[in-house]
């Protein structure tokens, strides 16, 4: 086990190298003139010099490998360039936006995973009964509802008609409190900061803004977890050792708990890992629908305005974070299932 983890850790830099390579290759599709835009902060800088001068000045016409290492050096110093669409350095924009995305992910992950596993077990245990069919139909409909359709409908009703769950991250008044001097931003996550500052009204407001995106995310991903739990539990239910367990007279709930569910959790664990990754990426659309100012919305806005610097910068950031979490998922997978020791 330790050697497996060690080997995976050794590969980490290689994978990170791959990530940078992908982004660099993506960048090489852009002309030097497109790239120079990331260095220009205001139109004034164009007054006394032509674009060619700027390309020369920032040495954007150098050969690829030299550019790559210079670019890598910049990244290691935390310099991801200047974003036109966000009007600030990409690194600053990420620092401001990432806590929001993280907050939404954390907030949504618990109902998604627990709800999904619960629904999936019910469905598998009552295989082919009306309960099974009802849960499956419920889940399939959720899986078929794209977040941008469901989200808009949710907003139309819960915001437009009832006025309960507004879009955005905070109401204006709550934003004023959060931005005021007395309010200390410990984490950048509104709910956590509100608790630490004992601003209960702000806390409630932040929750109110999180509910609609969480509903949207949960319903979408429930189906996913349910499917995997159900099918893997059904798989396991037909295994010989389950028959043996039943034959030797174990009570049904012990069979389910000890023999079935535990073995059935293997695929669920892998998939849940992928799901977090998928969620972080899928948040782009959810955040756009709900106007939730996180990293996803930052990337989406930047992409619409073809702000390459910002798109590539945030992707670099995502890449690093997700390579690390992918590693964690793999290690967890190996921990749960001893058969997966790659030798």
């Amino acid at each position: 086990m330790l050697s497996y983890i060690g080997r995976r850790l050794l590969f980490l830099p290689l994978v990170l190298f791959g990530v940078t390579l992908f982004i660099f290759i993506a960048m090489s599709f852009l002309s030097p003139y497109q790239l120079v835009s990331s260095y220009i902060k205001s139109p004034d800088e164009l007054k006394n010099q032509s674009l060619d001068d700027l390309v020369k000045k920032y040495r954007l016409d150098d050969p690829a490998h030299i550019k790559y290492f210079r670019w890598l050096g910049n990244i290691l110093h935390g310099n991801l360039g200047y974003s036109r669409s966000a009007n600030m350095h990409v690194m600053d924009a990420i620092k401001a936006r990432f806590p929001a995305t993280l907050e939404l992910t954390i907030f949504a992950i618990i109902p998604v995973v627990l709800g999904g596993i619960w629904l999936g077990s019910i469905s598998a245990i009552h295989h082919n009964s009306p309960v099974d069919h009802a849960t499956r139909v419920f889940a399939i409909i959720g899986w078929s509802l794209p977040s941008f359709v469901f989200g808009i409908v949710l907003l139309m009703y819960f915001y437009g008609v009832l006025g309960w769950f507004p879009p955005g991250r905070l109401s204006t008044w709550a934003d004023m409190i959060v931005l005021s001097e007395g309010f200390i931003r410990y984490t950048g996550m509104n709910t956590v900061d509100a608790i630490m500052n004992r601003e209960w009204a702000v806390f409630w407001d932040a929750i109110r803004h999180l509910i609609a995106p969480t509903i949207s995310l949960s319903y979408l991903w429930w189906a996913f977890i349910l499917r995997i739990t159900r099918s893997s539990m059904l798989d396991v239910l037909n295994k010989d050792y389950v028959r043996t367990a039943r034959a030797k007279g174990l009570p049904e709930n012990i069979v389910i708990k000890r023999h079935v569910r535990r073995n059935a959790m293997i695929p669920v664990a892998t998939v849940a890992g992928f799901m977090v990754l998928g969620m972080l990426g899928g948040l782009t659309i959810t955040e756009t629908v709900f106007d939730y100012k996180g990293l996803g919305l930052l990337t989406a806005t930047a992409a619409q305005q073809l702000d390459y610097t910002c798109v590539l910068g945030t992707t670099m950031f995502y890449g690093v974070i997700l390579v690390v979490s992918n590693l964690v998922v793999d290690i967890l997978y190996a921990l749960i299932d001893p058969r997966v020791r790659l030798d």
Partner: protein, 288 residues
């Protein structure tokens, strides 16, 4: 096949799917292209220039969305776009994924490690972000969206298949085949793939819906075809501006989201219902 039809859910899925296929095939009959742009049928005709949507009427049964684009026309021709995008992306990705996954797991050892690291790199990006990056540097457009999606869609098939093969690889029937001197290719095709490829095929069949949703999502973000192209995602992105309605009439512009939204939901639902039933039928382990 018989069982697919006997199951009411998958039957409904099939009915929906056939319905969509008919719509796609008969699009020129159901929603004839106006004479003034006969040569580009995928452009939704406009009936005016003002921004505010117009409610459904006799001439325009689904109403006119922002910019007076005909919703009915867009929904009908958008079906063609959806099929095209879905089939191209899933087909290409599935082939790549199965080849890479089978090779990686069966060869094992260092090759497996290297291939899986490469897959890791691809997987380490959230799919949408990666697709956004590629679409962004290649330039906006539906073809760019499809290229971007194939680049980042095959890994899940590869990884899924590899995981399954790793579990099956050491089981007796494979060892027996190997001991009997069956060639490697034959072992993979005759003995390993039939026992491992189901989840891949199922997830591929289910994915046809997801691919269409994702492509529509990228269009929704504004990275797809130019404005006015018959594409469900784009039509839904229009409706985002109208979700509040007017004072006293909160649901005034419902038709801008419900019609294209229903089209995409039903389309995906059809695929998902079939994919779901298919799994139960194809998997002999569950039939017991």
């Amino acid at each position: 096949m018989k069982k697919l039809i006997r199951n009411p859910l998958s039957l409904f899925g099939f009915a929906l799917l056939i319905f969509f296929i008919i719509i796609a095939l008969l699009a020129p009959v159901i929603a004839p292209t106006p004479e003034r742009h006969k040569h580009e049928p995928y452009r939704i005709p406009r009936y005016g220039w003002q921004t505010t949507p117009t409610p459904p009427s006799k001439e325009h049964p689904f109403g006119l969305t922002q910019g007076q684009y005909d919703i009915f026309y867009g929904v009908v021709w958008g079906t063609r776009t959806a099929f095209f995008v879905g089939l191209v992306v899933v087909g290409s990705s599935c082939v790549i994924g199965v080849v890479v996954g089978a090779a990686s797991a069966y060869i094992g050892g260092r090759t497996d490690e290297i291939i899986m690291r490469i897959v890791d790199v691809f997987l380490s990006f959230p799919f949408l972000i990666a697709a956004v990056v590629i679409t962004c540097v290649l330039g906006k457009g539906l073809d760019k969206i499809m290229i971007a999606m194939v680049c980042f869609w095959w890994m899940n098939y590869a990884r899924l298949l590899r995981g399954n093969i790793l579990q099956v690889k050491e089981e007796e029937f494979v060892l027996a085949a190997r001991a009997a001197g069956v060639s490697h290719i034959k072992i993979i095709i005759r003995h390993i793939l039939p026992n491992t490829i189901f989840p891949v095929l199922i997830s591929a069949s289910m994915d046809l819906g997801s691919v269409v949703v994702t492509a529509a999502g990228l269009s929704f973000l504004g990275l797809g075809a130019p404005e006015g192209y018959a594409d469900w995602g784009q039509m839904i992105s229009f409706s985002r501006n109208w979700l509040l309605g007017a004072p006293g009439e909160p649901l005034k512009y419902w038709y801008t989201v419900i019609y294209p939204g229903a089209a995409i939901v039903l389309f995906v639902l059809a695929w998902n219902l079939i994919g779901d039933a298919l799994r139960d039928i194809l998997d002999p382990k569950i039939q017991a």
